[in-house]
Amino acid sequence: MNRRVVVAGASLGGLRAAEQMRAAGWTEAVTVIGDEPHMPYNRPPLSKEVLAGRASFESLAFTPKASAADVEWRLGASVTAARLADRVVELDDGSTIPFDGLVVATGMRPRRLRCAGPLAGRHTVRTLADARSLRDELTRSDARVVVVGAGFIGCEVAATAIGLGVRDVTVVDPLPLPMVGPLGELLAGSLLERHRERGVRFALGRTVRHFTGTDRVTGVVLDDGTELPADVVVESVGSVANTEWLDGNGLDLSDGVLTDDFLRVGGLPHVVAVGDVARFPNARYDDVPRRVEHWSIPTDTAKHAAKSLVAHLTGTGAELAPFAPLPTFWSDQHKFRLQSFGAPVLGRDDVRVLDGDPAGDVLVGYHRDDRLVGVVALGGPATAAKTARYRAELLKQPAPTA
């Protein structure tokens, strides 16, 4: 055990990278470094089942594969710098760790609103600690809740708050519809109606000017001057890539870490990136590198990146196909589920109802150049299951050119 692969980041991407290094045949040392004190855990329930109190915080822990039992975990430690040419990372305790291969898995952190006002009472949802403190405040009686940002997390938190019996929930977003970016207008409109029917209020086309309150937040003032009284604010306004530690290595860090078709960073065969911090081209669609924040991506990228890294480190020179995952996402809100396959965002200009009715259970297809590029189901589990047939069709398609 002379050589070492360092995995920077100990969430799903870091765990899967460590496991997949073993699966790809790497038998030497693996060290995973993560700034949270916990072993890797599953984040999606933090805005849903766990926030609602239907699942315990303990239930979120992943069970690492037996093959990864000898992986070294450095938890509660963060990587503060890397010198890729010298093959060494520096930690916040001042120590350094030399590596032969490096996996970038440091993920994202929530973006914060920078407008004036007190910080207390304002929450984000990314970590176990975040979800715990938000749950404490949501379960106080008569909490008035303002959610800023009508994306995945904002919509899920609003639905969970209603489910917890919170009577006063308002979602603010500059766009005219919730989740209109990933879904397009047809489904976003349907989503808006479903939330309204269940008691969620919306202030759409609005931005936050500032927060009121002295010691803690008491209200949210919008750009039209409206003040929404608030005991609890949730900021779900996107995320920022954790890449500062890679500064100074001549990398493209303009939005996450730019990689090639094999998840390699900066043209270096000994450095790969996985998870939502990786900005990779998907050979299935076009050559535009994108970051993808869906849950399936850490596992997909880890499999490909580990093969690429192990092939280099062991000198086997195995021929790899370019990375071409089929994206998928889901979201559970109130009693309904969104389930997607493919890339609906590429086909938002040609949206067709494939099955059902937008007011009820519905299956929608997204097309580009008259070809199906994505499907989204909205409704009950049986509707979500109907995406299976279209998933097979989306998988069969050769990677189209842009």
């Binding site: 899967r16 599953n42 999606p44 329930p45 699942a55 239930s59 992943f62 069970t63 594969k65 849950w295 399936s296 596992t299 998928t328 889901w330 559970d332 389930q339 009950g380 589990p381 049986a382 979500a384 299951a385 299976a388 998933r391």
Partner: protein
């Protein structure tokens, strides 16, 4: 090989069905049915199914 699904966690996403269709299926009602003792030749598929389960409800024993 023994496949265990924590049914208190399972939310019928069906990702396991895509990974290991010989072991996992969604019934007409949209709910999961599965083979608890599949052939060992299917191990890679079952491991993949366990990886992609959004609720991490699947474990493989033996």
């Amino acid at each position: 090989m023994k496949v265990v699904v924590d049914t208190t966690k399972c939310k019928d996403h069906g990702q396991c069905v895509f990974a290991a269709p010989d072991v996992f299926q969604l019934g007409d009602d949209g709910h999961l049915v599965f083979d608890a003792e599949p052939d060992d030749a299917l191990r890679d598929d079952v491991e993949e199914a366990a990886d992609v389960c959004p609720l991490q409800a699947i474990s493989v024993e033996g």
